[in-house]
């Protein structure tokens, strides 16, 4: 189905042109983008579902707008994302909690960062993914880099107008539309004859580091001197 199409899974090369330069337009309300072409939502949903069900290591990348419960609709959307994840066989959730590059590095199994999404995709051999709850600017950066350097099939569930560089882009997606997509996915799964009992994806593998309730300043070794006044030193009030 994707043969001869403009926006297909990569790697598209060292520095591919963005889809918007290639003439891909964002879809009008009620429509969706599939491989850079404007199609009916249903058609795009089915193709997206097929990708998530048949490609290796399907993963959902939820962004800050669903990870953080900053309002009721965000929390409802988060719930819908978890319901969707449960229906995809062996699906994983790798969050994008914020947009800033991290020093010294991210843990690619624990998170994805829009400044180098390839690290997470390549490390985990992800061949199909869903972006949801990521601000459009950052989603576009990521989608473009993923298309450039990986063979990952990208699906954008966008609350606004959509994304040209995703293989499938749905627009105006909120909790209700995510559930609609889930229903389509379940339908396609049955058609493909894939057996699956819904279950939540595995937890985040990042290991507990410190136990903040028990750490003492003495754990900071030689630097403790900077934190704690030395023996015999009098701490004066500021006046």
């Amino acid at each position: 189905m994707e043969e001869g199409k403009l926006i297909t899974p990569g790697p598209a090369g060292y520095k591919p042109e963005p889809a918007a330069f290639l003439g891909v337009d964002l879809p009008p309300p009620g429509k969706a983008l599939l491989y850079g072409e404007i199609v009916d939502e249903e058609v795009a949903m089915r193709e997206a579902a097929k990708a998530m069900l048949t490609r290796r290591n399907p993963t959902i990348f939820p962004g800050p707008l669903v990870l953080w419960g900053w309002n009721a609709s965000a929390m409802e959307k988060a719930k819908a994302v978890l319901e969707l994840a449960a229906e995809i066989p062996n699906c994983r959730i790798i969050p994008m909690p914020d947009y800033r590059p991290k020093y010294p590095k991210i843990d690619p199994e624990a998170e994805i960062n829009p400044n180098h999404p390839n690290l997470t995709i390549i490390h985990n051999k992800i061949e199909a993914c869903i972006f949801v709850g990521v601000h459009c600017h950052y989603a576009n950066l990521s989608l473009r880099m993923i298309r450039a350097g990986t063979n990952c099939f990208t699906i954008a569930l966008c609350a606004e107008m959509g994304h040209e560089d995703a293989m499938v882009s749905l627009r105006d997606v909120h909790a209700e539309e995510i559930r609609k997509f889930k229903d389509v996915l379940v339908q396609v799964r049955k058609e493909l004859g894939i057996e699956w009992t819904p279950k939540p994806p595995p937890e985040n593998p990042s290991l507990p580091k410190e136990e903040w309730t028990t750490v003492s300043p003495l754990d900071f070794g030689e630097y403790a001197a900077l934190l704690i006044p030395r023996r015999g030193e009098v701490v004066e009030e500021t006046e």
């Binding site: 988060a78 010294p104 300043p217």
Partner: protein
């Protein structure tokens, strides 16, 4: 809004990286911490790419721990060393163009005051001596003349550290640095006096040798800026690289300078003094209550 945007969506706690879970559970959001408990809570800034032994990095660490309301604080920075750590903190950080901090902060603070007239949104500029007293001098001064209600903190390492050690207006006279091959020919700018004359309502000069004192000064500057007008902290944060201070001696150097030209200095208007005393009295009472219960 405050805390809502640093609360994890129900069901997602187990999918978040540990870092963020800790930040919410053991961090500073929604509670005030004592800077002396540093190390016993999840700090707003941890790993950063500043040099080993950097005293500015230490100051920034204490600064974040001292924030009275991190969930409603925005930090602005500019080119220079400080932003390397500021950009790693779990507090919104704005990095604009060269030396523009105090102009950007003026627009930002005004926008927030229009949109949230009944809320305290703390805006804090942390920039270097070059950013505030050289390239951004006009904008720094005019934000003070206009009485803009935000805090400016100058982390003064007396040099352009990030671009490789050039002379700045805050370098001491006579010091030989890049772009001052024969030594600096004029005195260190008296930033504190300028701040007082330009209309800052709270001004402090500090060599950060005592965490409690740093925290107190930072909090006072932020509280005063909320209500009265511009506030300014001039902090000595040595550059151990360009001034060749052995890592183990940065604290000793800070103490030495404290005895010389960085003697603790604090100035505020009478109404600020009254206001701060009231806040600190209430804080003490609250702490007493906490101890009792």
């Amino acid at each position: 809004m405050g805390l809502e945007y640093v609360r994890i969506s129900p069901g997602f706690e187990k999918y978040m990286p540990r870092d963020y879970v800790d930040l919410v559970k053991f961090g500073q959001f929604g509670r005030e911490v004592d800077v002396m408990q540093l190390g016993q809570f999840k700090e707003l800034v941890e790993e950063h790419p500043m040099c080993a032994g950097c005293y500015m990095a230490y100051f920034i660490r204490i600064f974040y721990a001292a924030l009275p309301k991190p969930e409603d604080t925005i930090v602005l920075g500019t080119a220079g060393c400080a932003r390397l750590a500021l950009s790693q903190a779990a507090v919104p950080f704005i990095y604009g163009n060269y030396g523009d901090t105090n102009a950007v902060a003026s627009g930002l603070k005004r926008a927030l005051s229009i949109r949230f007239p009944d809320k305290d949104k703390d805006v804090v500029v942390i920039a270097g001596d070059g950013g505030l007293m050289d390239i951004g001098f006009g904008m720094t001064m005019h934000s003070w003349f206009r009485g803009e209600k935000f805090t400016t903190i100058m982390v003064d390492n007396e040099v352009y550290g990030n671009t490789g050690g050039q002379e700045s207006g805050m370098s001491p006279k006579g010091v030989q640095l890049k772009m001052a091959p024969l030594g600096k020919k004029f005195d260190k700018i008296n930033a504190v006096q300028l701040a007082i004359d330009a209309g800052c309502v709270y001004v402090a000069k500090i060599s950060p040798t005592n965490p409690k004192k740093i925290a107190k000064v930072v909090r006072r500057a932020i509280f005063a800026a909320r209500k009265f007008g511009p506030t300014f902290i001039h902090a000595y944060t040595s550059c151990n690289i360009e001034y060749s201070i052995p890592t183990r001696e940065v604290l000793a150097d800070a103490r030495k300078r404290e005895k010389e030209d960085f003697k603790f200095f604090e100035w505020m208007t009478d109404e600020v003094k009254e206001y701060l005393e009231e806040i600190e009295r209430k804080e003490k009472e609250r702490k007493k209550q906490e101890v009792k219960s």
